[in-house]
Structure formats: C-alpha cells, structure tokens
Amino acid sequence: MGTDIILNNIRKCRFEKNEMTQQELADAAGCTRQTIVALEAGRYTPSLGLAFRIAGIFDKGLEDIFEYREP
C-alpha cells in the first residue's frame, strides 16, 4: 500500500487567476467539481492527463502546480 503524497497549489492558482471558481476550473479541465474539491483537499491524485490540463489552464508547468513528497 503506497503512501506517496502529491501536494498541489491549485487553490492558490485559482485565486491568482481572477478568483476562478472550482466549477469554472472543473469545466475547463473536463472534470467534475467534486474532483477539484478532492484535489485541493489532497484526497485525490489526478491522472497525468488531468494534471497537464490543469497546469495548462494556469499557464504553468506541471511542477509549478504539483509537488511530489517522499513517503
């Protein structure tokens, strides 16, 4: 059972991007608001595809949004 944790600063990025709502981000990234809430709460590790789409929405690189923490 892995205990790898992937942190993210999606919430911070949303506020920096004209206080984008979770629903707006979800619509742009092609996922549900529940998934964005789970991501921000650190309860879900996204697929690479979704991670790239989110990074693309904020015009940032993957590592600017997501951070891998050693177990």
């Binding site: 059972m1 944790i5 619509d27 549900t32 529940q34 709460a41 309860r43 879900y44």
Partner: protein, 195 residues
C-alpha cells in the same frame, strides 16, 4: 486428546492470530496514510458525486424490492412459484421494476450527453473497483444458496424446479446491489484515504 482435534485447534489458533495481526497492521498503515493525507491538504467535506448519490438511491430501491418480494412470498411455499400465476407475475414485475430503476439511476455511467460533465476519471476509478464487490457479492450469495438449499432439502434429496429461477433473479439483484455498495465504499475510501 484426539490428535486431529489438537491439530485443528492449533491451526485455528494460528489462522486467527495471523488474521488479527494482519487486521491490526492494516489499521496502522491506514492511520499513517490518513495522517499524511491530512498533512498535505485541509479537511473538507467533499460534495457527493452524482454516481455516489444514485448508488445510495439504488441500494434503497433494491432493498425495498427485496422486502416487497419477501412480503409477497409470505404465506406461500417456494414450490408454488410456478403453480401460482399471480405470485409469479407479481414477483417478476417487482424484479423487473427494480432493475429498470437501477438502469435509470446508473445512466450517468454512460458518459453521454449531459452526463459527460458529471462523470470523470475519479468516478471511473471508483466504478472500475466496484466490480470487485460484484464478484464477492455473487460468491457470498452462492454460498448462502448452497448452504441454505443443502440444509433445507437434505432429507428430500432434490430441490424444487422453481429454485433455479429464483436464483437467477437473485443473482441479478445482487449484481446491481453489490456494484452500488462498491461505489459507495469506493467514494468513502477516496474521501478518507485517497487513491
């Protein structure tokens, strides 16, 4: 003391001790995992996904269906199923309606049209794991049928011809019920321990 009794008791002790150890170890690992998750993100109530909500409704509808079937059977022997047209039609209708309700509630899994925005990779992950619950559910049901029928009809030496028909319906209901239980459990797991 009989040697086989001794061997059985020692084996039972070893198996129980191993199961208890694995259970405690799993709880410890989950506790650490949860603590790490809480370190990485804040504690929030994640809103229920549409699939999660519908699975709960589904569990309720199947439970009601099973209760109605049990009520219809009250006062009848199982062997009357084919002989009594009214009973057979009523039970078949309840099963059919329950399954139709299930199919309607599970429409979001089709990912078509308006559902496409309500169903994403997180839901797909939960759905893919839920099939494990279907296997376990069917296994448990087959054990219940086997033990129940063997015990009840042991003296008679054969079972009424109506039983396999009812087993078929019960398999269907269990298939849908266990998937919904698996979906609900999957979201609970994701919300508490991540993926």
């Amino acid at each position: 003391m009989n040697i086989w009794f001794g061997v059985t008791m020692v084996s039972a002790f070893i198996v129980s001790a191993l199961a208890a150890y694995l259970g405690v170890r799993a709880l410890q690992v989950l506790k650490v995992r949860k603590a790490k998750l809480e370190e990485g993100g804040e504690i929030v109530n994640i809103p229920m996904a549409i699939l999660q909500q519908r699975s709960l409704w589904n569990i309720l509808s199947i439970t009601i269906g099973v209760l109605i079937i049990s009520w219809l059977f009250k006062g009848y022997a199982v062997s009357e199923f084919f002989a009594n047209d009214k009973l057979r039609i009523s039970i078949t209708a309840v099963v059919a309606v329950t399954l139709m309700v299930n199919l309607f509630l599970m429409l979001p899994t089709s990912k078509k049209g308006r559902w496409s925005k309500m169903f994403d990779e997180r839901d797909e992950l939960v759905l893919s794991k839920a099939s494990n619950f279907q296997i376990v559910g069917l296994l448990i049901l087959s054990v219940i049928w086997t033990i129940g029928l063997t015990e009840y009809y042991w003296e008679a030496g054969s079972i009424p011809i109506d039983i396999p028909y009812l087993m078929f319906w019960s398999n269907f209901l269990m298939l849908f019920l266990s998937r919904s239980v698996g979906i609900v459990f999957g979201y609970w797991w994701l919300d508490h321990y991540g993926n």
